[in-house]
Every structure is written in structure tokens, then in C-alpha cells.
């Protein structure tokens, strides 16, 4: 049951597409894997595509924020892309604003944002 979310490397950017209903351990595993991969590969950017994610609760929100902070310590920028409107509205109502996390509408725009930064 050692499920993992695959991490793709595209040049200096790491791309993660979350396509499953994320349970807590999987999220923590991703946090571990990503930080390891950043330091191994020297990546400067991380794109996390959550467009298929149907809900983000405070736990997953915290993991996303943590990944962003950890990556930043390792000198990489993180962009969370493709959050669905219903998920965004719910997160705001929940009181989670993910301050400090960069966001973009889709992977393309996320790439451009990383190039600019």
C-alpha cells in the first residue's frame, strides 16, 4: 500500500499532478518526496496541479503551505495551479488563505509565472 504521487522533472521545474482523493499519509509522503527531489535535482521551481482535486481541507492546505515554505528554504519557488472555484470558495470560508503560496490558473500560466520570478 505504498502509494505515491509521481513527480515529473521538466528541466529545472518539478511537476506534480494530484489526481487521487488525497489521504493524509499520501500528502505527507508527497511533502517528503518533493523536498528530497528538490535538493537532489537542484530544481528552481515546483508546480503542483490540483485541478482534479475535489476538496482541500485544512490538513491538505497545511501540507501545500509547508511544501511551499520548505521549497523556499531550498531556493525553489512553488506554484499551486488549477484550484477549482468550489474548492477556493470553501478554503476562504474555512479561513485558510495560503498566504505566501503562489497560484496560477493552469500549468502553462504557472510555468510563465516561474520564468518571471
Amino acid at each position: 500500500m505504498q502509494e505515491r504521487i509521481p513527480i515529473l522533472q521538466m528541466g529545472r521545474v518539478l511537476l506534480v499532478t494530484i489526481q487521487v482523493d488525497m489521504h493524509d499519509r499520501l500528502a505527507l509522503q508527497l511533502q517528503d518526496d518533493l523536498t528530497n527531489k528538490i535538493s537532489e535535482s537542484g530544481a528552481k521551481g515546483v508546480l503542483i496541479d490540483i485541478s482534479s482535486l475535489e476538496m482541500v481541507d485544512s490538513f491538505i492546505g497545511r501540507v501545500l503551505a509547508n511544501i511551499s515554505s520548505m521549497a523556499s528554504v531550498l531556493d525553489a519557488k512553488t506554484v499551486v495551479v488549477g484550484m477549482q472555484p468550489a474548492v477556493a470558495i470553501t478554503l476562504v470560508e474555512l479561513g485558510l488563505s495560503l498566504n505566501g503560496v503562489l497560484t496560477a490558473l493552469n500549468v502553462m500560466k504557472g510555468m510563465k509565472l516561474l520564468e518571471r520570478e
Binding site: V80, V81, G82, M83, Q84, P85, A86, V87, A88, I89, L91, V92, E93, S97, L98, T103, A104, L105, N106, K109, G110
Partner: protein, 285 residues
């Protein structure tokens, strides 16, 4: 009381009862001959009588929510909804069941010619029963009207929140009229949905047409801005009128995290600038 007597009375006099009842309905004040044909009415009445007789035979005359009555309730429910849609008034709809009282009374009187006490007993129960069915008719009728109202409200909400594309990557939402909670959440959703569909990174919310902004509305606006940011889009709020600006300050609403512009034109200019574009007069090129 012996439900069997009533059941027998109905089954023996069924054809007469049906004729008299339909007659009764047709003569009733406010009968909408224009909305329903005699044949249809007769068919409906016949169907109802059959189910009614079955339910009476099942025994329980005082509890119309019991199992035996469910075919009857079903039939009334269908009829009531149908009449609600066709434009019958509540009275006209309730008359269907209530006008059965007179012919039934006559049948019972004949059956109990020699026993007035028994007649009174039975007629009391039948009266109560028909009243209950009448009330049920009203309930369903009102419910179907309410469903229509809710649907219309939903339609109106959607129509009143057009999100327009101003330029590649720029959408605008001109809000006109008072914003309440229900409307704001619809507005919010359709704006965010359009941001995704058009891939727009900038959304302008224009509130020139909004007469007042209270704390709740301001909070909704701020939440929309926050949600758009989570998705990767920026919002500009334009058209804040002087008195609204004053109220906002008095209410201590903090808009410092949001870009605000006086007019929609100003907002569009800012949006274009952010996308690396500039509007110049053609003679200057």
C-alpha cells in the same frame, strides 16, 4: 364506525355518485370550464372514486396518512400539481374533493333512512375525512406553486449576473442592484467559473450599480477576491461611489489588500497595463 357500510354504499351507488359529483363540480361557482373538459373531469373523478372506495374498504377512516390511503393521496397530489400548473385557483382546486361531500351525504341519508343517529355518526366521520383530504390538496397545491417560485428565483439570479469578457485575459462583472447573501454567492460562483473557462488572470468587479454596501456585502466581495487569488487570478474592484467609500471607512472595512479604481475605464486601463498593453491614440503611432 363500520367502514364497510360506507364502502358498500359507495360501491352500490357508484355510477349515480359519479354523475352527481361531476355535476356538482361543473355547477360550482368558479368552475373553469375553459381549462378542463367534461370528459377529462369525469375520468379524473372516476379514478379518484375507485381509489377512494378502496381506501375506505381498507378500514382506517381517520388517518389519511396510513398505508391504505396512499393511492388516494397520490391521485390527489397529481391532480393538485396539475391544476396548479394549469392556473386553477386554490379554491377551484380544493373544490374537487370538497364537492364530493353533498352527493355522499345524500347516499348515506338514503342508506340510513331509519336510523338518524347512525346517519349523523357516519356523516361526521365522512365530513372530517373529506376536510382532511381537502387540506392535503391545498398543501400540495401550495407546494407546487412554491416550487415554481423557487425555480424562477434561481433563473432570475443567473440572468442578473452576466460575466463579460473585456479583453483576452480580462473578464468583468458589472453588478447592478442590491446585493444580498444569496445573490452574492451566485455572483461569486459565476465569476470564478468564468475565470476558469476563459483563463483570465484579471477580473474586474464593477459596483457602480450597487446602491449600498454593508459589512456583509463587503465581506462577500473580499471573500471573492481571496478565492480568485487562490485560483491564480487578481481582482480589481471599480465604481465605488463616494458615499460607499465613506460607509466602508466608517464600518472599518479594510480594502487595502484589494486594488480599487474609481471607474471601470480606469480598471480596464490598469488591467491592460498588467498584461503588458497600453492604449494609445492612433495618430501617435
Amino acid at each position: 364506525m363500520s367502514s364497510s357500510v360506507l364502502a358498500t354504499v359507495i360501491s352500490n351507488g357508484q355510477e349515480d355518485l359519479l354523475k352527481e359529483w361531476v355535476q356538482q363540480q361543473l355547477q360550482a361557482e368558479g368552475m373553469r370550464r375553459d381549462l378542463i373538459k367534461v370528459e377529462e373531469l369525469t375520468a379524473q373523478s372516476r379514478e379518484f372514486l375507485q381509489r377512494f372506495q378502496g381506501a375506505v374498504g381498507s378500514g382506517d377512516l381517520l388517518n389519511i396518512r396510513s398505508m391504505g390511503w396512499s393511492p388516494v393521496l397520490e391521485s390527489i397530489g397529481e391532480l393538485s400539481r396539475q391544476r396548479g400548473r394549469m392556473g386553477f385557483t386554490p379554491t377551484e382546486t380544493a373544490l374537487f374533493v370538497l364537492s364530493l361531500k353533498a352527493p355522499l351525504t345524500r347516499l348515506l341519508r338514503e342508506a340510513h333512512k331509519d336510523d338518524p343517529i347512525k346517519f349523523i355518526e357516519e356523516i361526521t366521520v365522512v365530513g372530517e375525512l373529506l376536510d382532511k383530504l381537502g387540506l392535503f390538496t391545498m398543501e400540495v397545491f401550495l407546494q407546487s406553486r412554491e416550487e415554481v417560485i423557487i425555480r424562477q428565483q434561481e433563473d432570475m439570479l443567473e440572468l442578473s449576473t452576466p460575466v463579460v469578457k473585456l479583453w483576452d485575459g480580462i473578464v468583468a462583472l458589472p453588478i447592478i442592484g442590491t446585493l444580498d447573501s444569496a445573490r452574492t454567492s451566485v455572483v461569486m460562483e459565476s465569476l470564478l467559473q468564468r475565470i476558469v473557462e476563459t483563463g483570465s488572470e484579471i477580473a474586474i468587479i464593477d459596483i457602480t450599480g450597487v446602491p449600498t454596501v454593508d459589512t456583509l456585502v463587503a465581506q462577500h466581495l473580499l471573500k471573492t477576491v481571496a478565492a480568485a487569488r487562490l485560483m491564480g487570478a487578481d481582482c480589481i474592484i471599480s465604481g465605488i461611489r463616494p458615499q460607499i467609500a465613506q460607509t466602508m471607512v466608517h464600518l472599518a472595512i479594510d480594502l487595502s489588500a484589494v486594488t480599487t479604481k474609481a471607474t471601470l475605464a480606469e480598471a480596464l486601463k490598469t488591467a491592460l497595463q498588467r498584461n503588458g498593453m497600453k492604449v494609445v491614440s492612433s495618430s501617435a503611432v
